[in-house]
Symmetry: C2
Subunit: 136 residues, 2 copies
């Protein structure tokens, strides 16, 4: 699997892969517009020209801990037709390595309780509570 | 309490307030450099020219949910000499209102279990698990 930053030509497969996670509801054109303006880095994993996995990394330059960087991983998804083959683990390892190279002192993410073992295998530990406010 | 975005002149009081949360270990000059380059919005609450509270808001432009925005609240702190007077609640309400105005569909944060009731009063509900990877 090749892992690289999301490009315009990946958009169709990227949307399909991300749909494994939740509703996307975007045309390819809308998704390309979003890709151009956001600061979060989105990676895709590609096998034989098919987008099979995706994960995004937000970086926050903190004031605490001597002005260190913190990484936040979001929207990890594996294409429904390619699950159970280790592609999720591979793209996660890539993001962790990249966050380390940048100098992040921690990497945080929120996940469903049922998916905790997946992240624990990657070295994550259950941390604080995750709180959510739905905005209507 | 006046609530506004962090300015250069607030840095000393801001560092003091943030120290209620964890170690800061920054000179004022280092903190000003960070302030200039980060994209996260940091707010301060000011009473009689003293920084008494702070909270930061990261915004992520999502691909999911039709390209909606998600807000992430980080580094909420009240100056040790001004705790228990409702300043934390006020600055949180300000950030929630701002995130709503921007059009965020959700606001997320991670906190210690002991602080959950504070956020529950503001409408947050305990959500997924928060996972953390320490980078060494």
């Amino acid at each position: 699997m090749i892992i690289r930053k999301l490009k315009k030509k990946d958009i169709k497969g990227f949307i399909e892969t991300l749909s494994a996670l939740t509703d996307v509801d975007l045309t390819e054109e809308q998704a390309i517009k979003i890709m151009k303006k956001r600061s979060t880095i989105t990676y895709v994993g590609i096998v034989k020209r098919v987008v099979v996995a995706t994960a995004s990394l937000m970086i926050d330059q903190k004031f605490i801990h001597g002005g260190s960087l913190a990484g936040y991983i979001e929207d990890v998804a594996v294409n429904k037709n390619y699950q159970g083959r280790g592609f999720g683990t591979k793209i996660m390892r890539h993001l962790i390595r990249y966050a380390k190279e940048l100098g992040c002192y921690k990497i945080m993410l929120c996940c469903k309780e049922s998916i905790e073992p997946f992240y624990e295998k990657l070295g994550f530990k259950k941390s604080n509570s995750s709180m959510r406010l739905e905005v209507k």
